[in-house]
Subunit: 257 residues, 4 copies
C-alpha cells in the first residue's frame, strides 16, 4: 500500500481476553488506515530486571493464544525467543521470531531462529551501532534464511536513560532488509532503584514521527487498554485509546515523503 | 507562511564574494519555497580545537560584510559572540546574537546579549538536557528581553561522536520560544587526533527530516559552494547545490504535520 | 593472604599446548606473589561480532582440557556459558560458571547456573549500573546458591568505546559478594567497521591499579603468549611476558590500602 | 616530597571567616602530611545553572580575601576566570588562573590567561577526550607560557550523571604537564529539574584513590566546614572534618606506587 507496517500488541500475553481485545481494536484501526499489521506479544518475559517479576502465564498456553489470534483474525504474529531451544518450539505457533536486543549477538540463537525458516526480527542491542547490525543479518542469511528484519530500540545513554539515534535507520537500511522503530521500549528508563523500568509514553508520538520521516519501514508499539495495570512494561506502553489518532498523523506524514 | 524558517550560510565569513554568493543563492531558493530566511555566518571562530586554525578575516571587516548582506538583500542576519564585551559590538551589525553551545551557561554573556535588545539564539550545550535550557531562557527573560530562540546541536556520545535526542525538541518548546535544529554541527565528529573535527554531511537530510517531523520551528544549516575548501567545518557543511532539493522535501513534510 | 585474587588465561581454548603454557606460567607468578589464582578460558565463543569468526575447537574437547588444568595444576577453573542447557554440562568440568555481560539479565540462565551449585560469576552488562547488579545476585541467591561473584567490564560510551565507572566497585560490594575488575575486556573498542573489536592493552595497568585502589577483590585479565596471533580478542589481551611485572606493582598497591 | 599536591578550598568565597577557617585547617593537615597545598576558591560563579543563584560577594572583595590568604599563610592561591578581560585583573591577586571546563576551548581566554605569566590550570571539558587537551596546552605554550596544568572533572554520561575515565590521566600526562583529578565536581549530578546540581560526596574517596593509583600529580577537592549550608556546590563538597583521614589514606597509597 506504500504505507508503513505496524507491529503492535501487549508486552506479554496476560490472558486470552486481553490479547483478543487488543488484536480486535488494532485490526479495526489498521484496516481502516490500510496499515499492514502484525500482532506482537511475548509468551514469556525471560529477562526482567528483578526475579519475582511476572514472567508469563505458561509458555504453551501463551503460544496457543497467539496461534488463535493468527487463526481467528488472519494476521501474522510475532513473539520473542531467548534460547536456541525455543526457536523450533515457538515457530510452531507464530510467523516471526524476534531476537531481543540484549541477545542480538548470540550466534546460536540467530542460527536456530534462521533454521526455522520463519522471518527473524532482530532488535539492535542498546550497545551496538546500526552499521554493526549487518553482522547479525549476515549470520541469518548465511544460515540460509533471507527473511530478516531489524528493529531499533534506542541506545544506552547514561544508566537511567536511552536515546534513539536516527542515523541508525538509514544505516540499517543499507543491509536491504525492512527496518522498524520500536517506539515504546526506546522510551524506557532502565536501572531504576526499584528494579522496575520507568518510561515516558507521552513521547511515543515524537519517536514515531521522526522514525517515519527518516524512512523507517515499520513501527513497533506496545499497547494495552490500561497500561497502569499491565503486568510488564506498563510505564512505557501506549494506551490503546490513543493508537488511532497517532496512526492517522503518521499515515499523513508517510504520504508526504 | 505556516512554514519552518531557515538559518543558513557559510560557517565563517571567508570573503565578501563567498558570503554574497551564498546569500544570493539561498535567498533565491527560500523565496521560491516561501521559507523565511536568516543569513548566518561567524565573524570569528573563537573556540577552534587547535590554535593555528583559521579564526577569521578580522572582526570589524567580517561584521561589516554581514551588515552589507542585511542592507543589500533585506534579510535578517545572525552571528555568534563569545564574551560579554562582544555583545554590544556585534549588535551594531546584526539582528540576532547567537550563544555557542559550550557557553550556554555563562550568565554574563547571556545577560549582555539580552541587554542589546536583539533576538538571542542560545545553542543547547552538548552536555545539557532540553529541559535544562529553560534556565538559559529565564536568564535572558529576567534581563528584560523576551526575544529568545533555542537551538539543538546534539549531545556528546562518547568522545568522537554526537547524537541528536529528538525528545529535546518538545522539551525546549515547553519554554514557549522557537526551537531550531542545527543539522550540520549535530553531525560533527569531535576529538579527532588531527585536531580537526570530522563530519557526516550525507546524513543532513536524516537529521533535518526528523526535526521537522517532531515540530522544530526552524532549521540551521551551514552551507558552502565547495565545503572541501572551506576554512572551517568543511567536514560537515552542506554543499550549496544540494540545498534546494532538500528544502523541497522538507516543505512537503512540514505541510503534512 | 589479604591479597586480591586473579582470574586469568587465554580468551578461548585454542589448544592444549597453549592452555598449559599459560596455566604453568601464571601459576609460577601467582605462587611467588601469593595471589590466589583461578584459570579462565572459554570453551566456545558464542557471541562473536561476525559469523565466520573462530568459535572454538569443539565444546567437549575444550572442556576436557579445562578439567585437565584443574586436575594437573590443582587450580580452580572458570568458563562462560550462554544458554541454560550449557549450565549442567559445563559444571561437570569446571568450578565456576561465568555469565557473559550481554546475558546478565537472562533469568533462566542465571537460575540454571545457580542450580549447578557451582560458584556463579556474573559480568555486569555494559548497559547496567553497579546498583542494578543486586537484582542478578538476588536471582541466584533466591535459587538457593549463595556463591556469587560480580565482574565489571566497562560501560558503553558511544559506539566504539567503553569506559569503566569505578563507582560501580563499591556499589557492587554493597551486595556482599566478591567484586572483580575485568581489565582486558574493559579496553575493547567495539563496533569496528571490520567486525573485529579493537583494544588498548597498553592501558591494562591503568585499569588494574584503579580497581585495586578502590577495593576490587579480584582482577580478571586475559593473557596470551602472543596476542597478535590469538584466535579471539587478540587486540586487548595482555602479553603473558608482562604479567609478572604488573602483578608485583599491584600487590604493593594492595598492601597500602 | 614525592607526594601528590592538593588544591582545596570552599567552592566560592562566601566570607573572610569561612575562607580563613578552611585555609587554616587544610594547612594544618597538609603540613603534617607533607602535601604541597594550593588554596582554591572562586571569586565569582559565572555559570550557575539558574539565574538567581548566588554569584559571589563582589569580585574585588573576594579577590582581596584570596590575596590575604596568600599573604597571611604563605600558600599559593588559585581562582577561575571566565572571560579574557578577567585574566589580568585576577592575576593581580592570585598565583594560578583556572579555566573552567565549559571554556577550555575558548582560545582568547586561554591566551589572555597565558599572557599574565601566571600558571594556567585548564579543566578538561566534559565533552573532550584527554588526548584532545593537548590542543589546549599548545594554545598556552604557543602564547609563550609553559606553566600549564590540566585537571579532569569527568565526562558527560547521560544528562544527569558524570563518569570519570581514568584513561585520561595517562593521556594528559603525555603532554608533560602536571595532571590533577577534581574529586568533587566529578561527582556532580547535572541537569536536575530543580536547577541545582546534585552530588555524591560519599564517593570522593573512591574517585581520589583511583586517581592517585593511576598517577595523578595532584588532587582538587572542594571542602567546607558545613556543605549543607554552603552557597554553591553544597551537594558535592567534602565536609572539612573528613579531609585529614582521607589524606592519610591517599599518602599511604601514593607511597606504594
Amino acid at each position: 500500500s506504500g504505507n508503513f507496517f505496524l507491529i503492535a500488541g501487549p508486552c506479554v500475553v496476560e490472558s486470552r481476553e486481553n490479547v483478543f481485545e487488543v488484536a480486535e481494536k488494532v485490526i479495526a484501526i489498521t484496516e481502516k488506515l490500510k496499515i499492514p499489521y502484525i500482532f506482537k506479544s511475548s509468551f514469556k518475559k525471560a529477562n526482567r530486571t528483578k526475579g519475582g517479576s511476572f514472567m508469563g502465564i505458561g509458555d504453551e498456553k501463551a503460544l496457543e493464544i497467539l496461534a488463535e489470534v493468527k487463526a481467528k483474525f488472519g494476521v501474522p504474529v510475532v513473539t520473542d525467543i531467548h534460547e536456541s531451544q525455543d526457536a523450533a518450539f515457538a515457530a510452531r505457533y507464530v510467523d516471526i521470531l524476534q531476537i531481543p536486543a540484549f541477545l542480538c549477538r548470540q550466534t546460536d540463537l540467530l542460527v536456530a531462529a534462521a533454521n526455522t525458516g520463519k522471518v527473524v526480527n532482530v532488535k539492535k542491542g542498546q550497545f551496538l551501532s546500526g552499521e554493526a547490525m549487518k553482522f547479525a543479518v549476515d549470520k541469518i542469511v548465511d544460515a540460509g534464511n533471507k527473511k530478516v528484519m531489524l528493529t531499533d530500540r534506542g541506545n544506552s545513554f547514561g544508566y537511567t536513560d536511552l536515546v534513539v539515534d536516527y542515523r541508525n535507520i538509514p544505516a540499517m537500511k543499507e543491509t536491504g532488509v525492512p527496518v522498524i522503530m520500536d517506539c515504546t521500549h526506546s522510551l524506557q528508563q532502565p536501572n531504576q532503584a526499584s528494579g522496575v523500568s520507568g518510561g515516558k509514553p507521552e513521547l511515543i508520538e515524537t519517536i514515531a514521527k521522526a522514525a517515519i520521516a527518516v524512512g523507517a519501514d515499520g513501527l513497533f508499539i506496545e499497547t494495552h487498554p490500561n497500561p497502569s495495570i499491565a503486568k510488564s512494561d506498563g510505564a512505557n506502553m501506549l494506551k490503546l485509546d490513543y493508537l488511532e489518532d497517532l496512526m492517522v498523523k503518521l499515515v499523513r506524514l508517510r504520504q508526504a515523503l
